[in-house]
């Protein structure tokens, strides 16, 4: 039997051909097994799958464990990247392409990336420094004053502040993750912010360096009259100041609105204030209050400035209001829970006692011994009787 033996040349040719073919096949397999390249707006559809995606860095946070969270955006969609282990750091404006697993929870969408090997840098977009409303979808690094802080002071981790970066008078909302900021911004602070301007004119900021307080606002004590005067004279710097004012509640607060003046009543000079609904519950017409961390913001619908009130404190409740039942066009409703004095004669009707002034009547309760038909002054607190759906004067034994 003849022994089959391959020559060196044949072995060499076979091995070379097999090597080349093998590398090509492996490259093809690697290519075919590549993960889908997904736009950020479609990421949610790939939850749990490994994908490739890319975007521009808005900001980053590095944790002690070595992991890093980045916020990236692409065409108005913002997602977070959680990188389990990263030596490197990324700056706002850098364009990245990453490979990782998509996760979703509540409204958030993110991608878990194992380490820096699965991230490739694809250049850097220029970071703009002049905030311009029409140039949305861009990263800005700009400076301006905080004109209002909303929700931040109540210890919320996420919040928003309103930032006047020169967009005429239409303020820019900054959507930030306050837990990652070194210093909480306050109204009137001069800040440097870095973030993405969305088409809702919202500057999305993320990470410790995204909002840097350059100068803390010095609160200024003002009066309502002076505020109104300076606004009328176009003293624009006032709108960036943190104000402290002692003033009176001109009317009963309605929801989140109250009107403030320098005198308890009678003054025509007043300004609208806005508070958290809860803060207004204990304030009544005529009360002397102290407002702090207040700032002026432009209300385009009403074409006027409104005082955004951070802290509202009651200094002194108002004494009894002298009211004339006959002249109250809206009844006593606006004096609910307020101490008043009024004049009239006492009449009995259907077993109840009423103070009557001309033809207007107000039920009176707890009056003690009173003489019917005699005109005199009565004092008490106006209350609402939910059972009978009407107001009454609770004299509490005051004769």
């Amino acid at each position: 039997m003849r022994k089959f033996k391959l020559g060196l040349g044949a072995v060499r040719s076979f091995v070379l051909l097999f090597s080349l073919t093998g590398v090509l096949i492996l490259t093809l397999i690697a290519h075919l097994s590549e993960v889908p390249d997904v736009e950020l707006k479609h990421l949610r559809e790939y939850s749990g799958e490994t994908v490739e995606c890319g975007g521009t860095v808005i900001g980053s946070v590095k944790y002690d464990s070595g992991s890093v969270k980045l916020l990236i955006h692409e065409n108005g969609t913002v997602v977070e990247l959680y990188i389990e282990d990263l030596d490197d750091s990324f700056e706002p404006g850098e364009r990245l392409s990453v490979k990782g697993e998509v996760y979703t929870y509540s409204s958030r969408v993110g991608v878990t990336v194992q380490n820096g090997r699965y991230i490739s840098r694809e250049g850097k977009v220029p970071v703009l420094d002049l905030l311009h409303g029409s140039n949305t979808g861009r990263i800005y690094n700009t400076m301006g004053h905080i004109s209002r802080v909303h929700r931040m002071d109540r210890g919320d981790l996420e919040g928003e502040i309103i930032f006047d970066g020169g967009l005429n008078r239409s303020a820019t909302y900054i959507d930030i993750d306050a837990s990652e900021l070194a210093i909480k911004p306050r109204t009137g602070d001069l800040v440097n912010v870095t973030g993405l301007l969305t088409d809702k004119k919202q500057l999305v900021c993320f990470g410790p360096g995204s909002v840097v307080v350059l100068q803390r606002a010095v609160p200024v004590e003002y009066s309502i009259g002076r505020v109104v005067d300076e606004l009328a004279s176009g003293y624009s710097e006032l709108i960036t100041r943190s104000l402290i004012i002692e003033c009176y509640s001109k009317y009963e607060p309605m929801g989140s609105s109250l009107y403030l003046s320098d005198e308890p009543s009678g003054s025509d000079i007043s300004i609208k204030g806005r508070i958290d609904r809860d803060q207004g519950l204990f304030i009544h017409k005529g009360d002397l209050v102290r407002i702090e961390n207040a700032s002026l913001s432009w209300e385009p619908q009403e074409a006027r400035y409104v005082l955004e009130i951070g802290t509202l404190m009651l200094i002194e409740p108002h004494g009894p209001w002298s009211i004339n039942l006959d002249s109250l066009s809206w009844g006593v409703g606006e004096f609910e829970e307020v101490e008043v004095t009024t004049t009239g004669s006492l009449e009995e009707k259907g077993g109840d006692l009423y103070i009557v002034d001309e033809e207007v009547m107000l039920r009176v309760v707890g009056a003690g011994e009173m003489e019917l038909g005699v005109e005199r002054e009565y004092s008490g607190v106006v209350r609402f009787d939910t059972g009978r759906n009407d107001y009454y004067l609770d004299t509490g034994g005051i004769p």
């Binding site: 590398v23 492996l26 590549e34 282990d85």
Partner: protein
């Protein structure tokens, strides 16, 4: 003191050494796999040792010490399968060639002993370098930042040097032979053809590396899969074994003689290896294999004994300085270092003396190195005695089957395909007549592409 620190530390080092023996002797089982398992078991260790009065943070430090010991012992023991079975890992890939040659000369044990000396020498060099590196890497010299900045150029320079120093003179002029067959003979451009062939092998191996690093390998048995196992086993292991079978080689009687070493040979080999391995320990994406290529460029016509000493030193120094890098630049440069970083609170080494955690981990590394040295000699001698009793062709075939089965177990069918292709590429070098080290392009080219 003895009960609180020294005894637990000794036990941790001992446990790590035993695990290092296991990972070192079984091709395909990496330290990283064991490190991850130890991380997941560490809460149980805290609970178990809590009763002995050892607090949680100390237990985590002991587990980290075990991982360091595993890592160090592994670098001693993994030379045994490289020598006797031809199944290398990234760090030992190039050492297969001289060690295999010594095995076929009956000096397999000497190769293993040289490797143990090289590794232990690297530990000594490492200790001597540790404090100078503190000042070189960090303040005031800040060498790390500089090296990182120019890394891609350094690597490209290394590749070019490796390729142009190919000394093979290949025939390229066709002529008719005695039997009328077309043959090739050497000419004035033979050396250039040799370099061109080296470039082609480098690029082919690089293309293989780029392809396999993106392959979705998965173990059919749920084992931790790494695509480098079939790739390097094929390029430097099975290809060598196949070449031996084709050449009809047989394993002669192995002599348990101590290696013939001269101080003038050992000291520079270990020093070059120690420095190369330590530098690579600080760099991202670099393995001992890359350091090997660099180190060998400094050796002119090295003897196999010098090569083994140098490569073993690189391997061990790299493992030791990955730990140093963790405390100096606060960057984990290996899977084991990542796990250590998870277990303990790593504080930057900013003063002259190392932080206490690093000192304790280094003690574990030292204990493991001493034990690893003697275990390598002991187990190397046992295998050297055993091997000649087995017919080499059958043994080599058996080892190839063992590697193929391991590759399938760890990386599945795609891994087997990778093994076939990389074996084929690995065979090209001896068939053409050039150095097989050009196949290190499998790691170098992807690394250059990655950091470009």
């Amino acid at each position: 003191m003895i009960m609180e620190v020294i005894l637990p530390l000794l036990i941790a080092a001992l446990v790590g050494t035993i695990l290092g023996v296991v990972t070192g002797l079984i091709p395909g089982l990496h330290v990283n796999n064991v490190a991850i398992i130890m991380l997941s078991l560490s809460p149980i260790a805290v609970e178990t040792l809590g009763g002995t009065g050892i607090d949680g943070s100390t237990v985590f430090l002991l587990v980290a010490g075990s991982i360091v010991a595993t890592s160090m012992t592994h670098t001693f023991l993994d030379f045994i399968p490289s020598t006797f079975l031809g199944a290398p890992e990234a760090e030992t890939a190039l050492s297969v060639l001289p060690a295999h040659g010594m095995l076929l000369e009956g000096r397999g044990y000497s190769a293993v002993a040289l490797s143990a000396v090289g590794s232990f020498g690297a530990v000594v060099v490492g200790i001597l370098l540790l404090i100078p590196y503190r000042f070189l890497v960090n303040e005031p010299l800040n060498g790390y930042a500089l090296l990182k900045e120019f890394m891609v150029w350094v690597l490209m320079g290394v590749c070019i040097l490796m390729l142009v120093t190919e000394t093979a003179r290949l025939p390229y002029i066709p002529r008719r032979g005695d039997e009328g067959r077309l043959e090739l003979e050497r000419g004035p451009l033979s050396r250039t053809v040799g370099v061109a062939a080296a470039v082609c092998l480098f690029l082919l191996a690089g293309a293989l590396g780029l392809a396999v690093l993106n392959l979705p390998v998965e173990s059919p048995f749920g084992l931790p899969a790494t695509v480098l196992f079939p790739t390097l086993s094929g390029l430097f292991g099975t290809s060598t074994l196949l070449e031996s079978i084709r050449g009809g080689a047989d394993v002669p009687k192995q002599y348990l003689e101590p290696p013939d070493m001269k101080t003038s040979e050992v000291v520079p080999s270990v020093a070059i290896g120690g420095v190369a391995g330590s530098v690579v320990g600080f760099l991202p994406g670099m393995s001992g294999g890359v350091a090997t290529v660099v180190a060998m460029l400094f050796r002119k016509d090295p003897k196999p004994t010098s090569v083994i000493l140098t490569l073993s030193a690189i391997n061990t120094a790299n493992s030791m300085f990955v730990l140093g890098a963790l405390f100096l630049i606060l960057r984990p440069r290996s899977g084991a270092a990542i796990v250590v970083n998870e277990l303990i609170s790593v504080s930057e080494w900013s003063r002259i003396l190392p932080p206490s955690e690093l000192s304790l981990l280094l003690i574990c590394a030292l204990i493991a190195s001493c034990l690893g040295f003697f275990l390598t000699l002991f187990l190397g001698a046992r295998l050297a005695n055993l091997l000649p009793r087995v017919p080499y062709t059958k043994l080599a075939a058996g080892i190839i089957i063992f590697i193929a089965v391991s590759v399938f177990a760890f990386t599945g069918l795609i891994g087997l395909l990778v093994l076939l292709v990389s074996t084929s590429i690995g065979m090209l070098a001896p068939l053409i007549g050039i150095r097989r080290s050009h196949a290190m392009g499998v790691l170098l080219l992807p690394v250059i592409v990655m950091i470009w």
